[in-house]
Symmetry: C2
């Protein structure tokens, strides 16, 4: 692989010298700190320090905004702040829009108010809505006052929509032209635009001021007779979105119909803005990431490099919740302490029943979550899915229950104990399959992402029931 | 929300009548089956059946390939087969490329060989590599013989690369033109192309036969003087890929640099093919899905609607693995059975220690997996991450260990038991943090996805150690 033609390598090539300089910088800094007393030395170090700073600053200007954001994300807090200070306001504005939530919130926290007030007005208006949550209210208000009336109106309109709606993600600029114009006129229009918005693959064709009637791909402009009217060459079967729609379903539509850009319209079909595949791809990635984190009770602002105390508190709710569910689950054990006293082998074997239940439940839930998120579950096919999963859990319960039952009987020379094991495993697998389907389904019906919280609930059910079934059967039969 | 302007609704509108027809169809079919004896009745039913079939076939032709694929994915096996039979070969070929792995493998299994041999040659050459794994070897060979020499060579070249490499995902067609041509000549070239490949946003500029020197966006063709040479207006800082590169890092590059299409070149910079944002988005989605499934020991071909027996076997490896780890973890309990006999409360409390450890470990691992997949972990910042996570686990261990210790001491009126609880929770949290970082890191260093298998290993460690620490300390101190 030659170095110059690989993006990954290119990025590494850019970042490696920066990281190296940062390490030198840090050594210098720790030296200067230690030697504050020795004035002569400090003077020398200070010079060295400046030299590195110049080299570092030069390296940083060579990075694209997206790469700079990536660099900032991978730095520990002190170095992150150092690099951030060296970036000029214009590039800082572009970089903010590329940062992940964790790095973004940490950097906004450490940026002095005056500098922030220089950076914020330079942010692209299209990027402001997704950053708004992170900007202190007074500063956001100041930014708004700085905008032209039309821009301010647009910003306030998009901020109305929550983060997971199309309206929050749309961008303002779109090439629009009347269907009465000819192909030649459209080409002239494109030529005269001051700048073409990113990811423009088509013109939106409008009637009157902004009523959408169709689209014409840029490539079609090149391939039609110059005198033809746009209304004759346009495609009028347009995939369009409304601002209240869920961003996730819009992203799926982009995937399904291989879109690059698409119009956002109001309920009278007037163009409000434009969605691009770039925004949709970013949205999908970010929402999947925050879901993975949320499933472990972590906020999207969590970060391996955040301050310890901040990070510890971030996890309290989840740890507390886990302790409560674990505590309740083990109360089922406490019910049977006298049974355990009689046969202590039960204490050894019971976690196996709980564990295999949790496992099966998570398998079923994962399949269910996928089907739900792909919109494959309907009232008509749900009973089929239920029947199939019950069948699977019965088969596997009989097979693996028998295996574990034999092992338990052999290990403890106790055939009844083996029978208890078999029946407990079988019943817990069936319960796990039922809850594995029901939990994501219920969460989904409540309007949340079906993966959200499923793990906690499932683990709680399969643990409690694993302990209860196994110890309960043992009390009855042994 | 008006019906016509929402994609989601549009899709539902299309699919709902089809689902309804299918239900009628099924009722008719079950009737005909039951009444096979009564010939007169059967004749009538047969007519009704045909009527529905016509209606169904008409509805199906109105669906786009992507929507048809979606419909097939959500149908139980019998209806899936029924619909599939009604689709003509040409649309079937386009639909295959849009199906997920589970539906794809099930449909290829049920399609008669002759029909498959009619469908396969109609598949777009660019889609064949990702379908190849699912096509029986003899049929694939037959398809290859049917290709022109150049096409066959291209197919064999892309099939060389594994699924997760750029070479497997690139498409063949790209608009290429010499840098010596003028803008006007380029426009003429675009006009004369028989068809423009999907997602073409730029021309690739070549020197000699196919050496890449730059790119010119289509919109730039419209905006430059017709007499200018392409080599003067082109952008020569091109993000390009090599066929051996990992598809995942290419997908990140598409995201980072907001690409729509990009050239794939060999190590002498000669154009081999083209990547598009559509392919990259599909790849990302599919690889994330199969990872989520793989983490529960499920294959990407698993499906809630697959036959029960097939599905049950699919899960055996995972259930077996889980039983083995659970069995070994509980052997740590067996070591201390005599301690438990003396104080049966230990059996009740021990799952709490294991559970809170598993929880913390998964939190740390999730953050680590995110950082690894975003390429944020370097030798230089790893120690920082370690130190921070250890700090977090110490703080949380002391706080929640104390809470649980107090609860245990109160519940069982035993202060020493509380102390054992505190220390066991604290130590298990620290171990969980260490293994939460080390496990994904090790898996990543082994060249696998860091999320792969992390959950099994972590649960095993935190369970075993939770039992061992708690019961071991109890044996020493009580």
């Amino acid at each position: 692989m030659s170095t110059e033609s690989s993006v990954e390598l290119k990025l590494q090539d850019h970042l490696a010298p920066v990281l190296e300089l940062l390490q030198k910088q840090q050594i210098v800094e720790s030296l200067t700190q230690r030697q504050e007393q020795v004035d002569n030395n400090a003077l020398v170090e200070n010079l060295v320090h400046r030299q590195h700073e110049v080299a570092l600053r030069r390296k940083l200007t060579q990075l694209q905004a997206a790469d700079l954001a990536h660099l900032l994300e991978m730095l520990p807090m002190d170095q992150r702040t150092l690099v951030w200070q060296l970036v000029d306001e214009k590039r800082a504005a572009r970089t903010l829009a590329e940062l992940n939530d964790a790095a973004l919130s940490s950097l906004i926290r450490v940026t002095p108010q005056e500098r922030l007030m220089q950076i914020l007005p330079l942010i692209d208006l299209d990027d402001l809505p997704e950053l708004a949550d992170f900007i202190p209210d007074d500063l956001l208000a100041a930014v708004k006052t700085g905008l032209e009336a039309q821009e301010r109106q647009w910003l306030e309109q998009t901020l109305q929509y929550p983060e997971d709606r199309v309206g929050n993600l749309m961008s303002r600029e779109a090439l629009q032209i009347s269907g009465a114009a000819t192909v030649d006129e459209a080409i002239k229009y494109v030529q005269q635009c001051q700048s073409i918005p990113e990811q423009t693959d088509k013109l939106f064709i409008v009637e009157g001021k902004r009523t959408l009637t169709g689209v014409v791909p840029l490539s079609a402009l090149l391939r039609h007779e110059g005198r033809q009217k746009l209304s004759e060459v346009m495609d009028s079967d347009v995939v369009r979105f409304q601002p209240e729609e869920e961003a996730e379903s819009a992203a799926y539509a982009f995937e399904r119909y291989d879109l690059i850009s698409a119009p956002v319209v109001d309920d009278r079909n007037r163009i409000l803005g434009r969605l691009t595949v770039e925004t949709m791809m970013d949205y999908l990635r970010e929402s999947q990431e925050s879901l993975a984190l949320a499933n472990q009770g972590l906020s999207a602002r969590a970060d391996l490099f955040a301050p310890v105390w901040h990070n510890a508190r971030n996890r309290w709710f989840w740890l507390g919740l886990n302790l409560v569910t674990a505590f309740i689950a083990t109360r089922f054990i406490a019910l049977f302490e006298s049974t355990i006293e009689n046969l202590v082998a039960l204490a050894t074997l019971m976690p196996i029943v709980a564990s295999i239940g949790g496992n099966t439940g998570h398998q079923t839930a994962t399949l269910m979550i996928r089907s739900l998120s792909l919109d494959q579950i309907q009232r008509s096919n749900l009973p089929v899915a239920f029947a199939k999963e019950l069948g699977v859990s019965l088969i596997n319960g009989i097979i693996w229950g028998t295996v574990m039952g034999c092992l338990a009987a052999l290990f403890y020379q106790n055939i009844q104990l083996g029978l208890v094991m078999l029946v407990a495993v079988l019943l817990n697998l069936v319960l796990a399959a039922i809850f594995g389907l029901l939990t994501p389904l219920t969460v989904d019906r409540l309007g949340k992402d079906p993966a959200m919280g499923t793990s906690v609930i499932l683990t709680f059910v399969t643990d409690s029931m694993g302990f209860f079934l196994f110890l309960g059967l043992a009390t009855l039969w042994l």
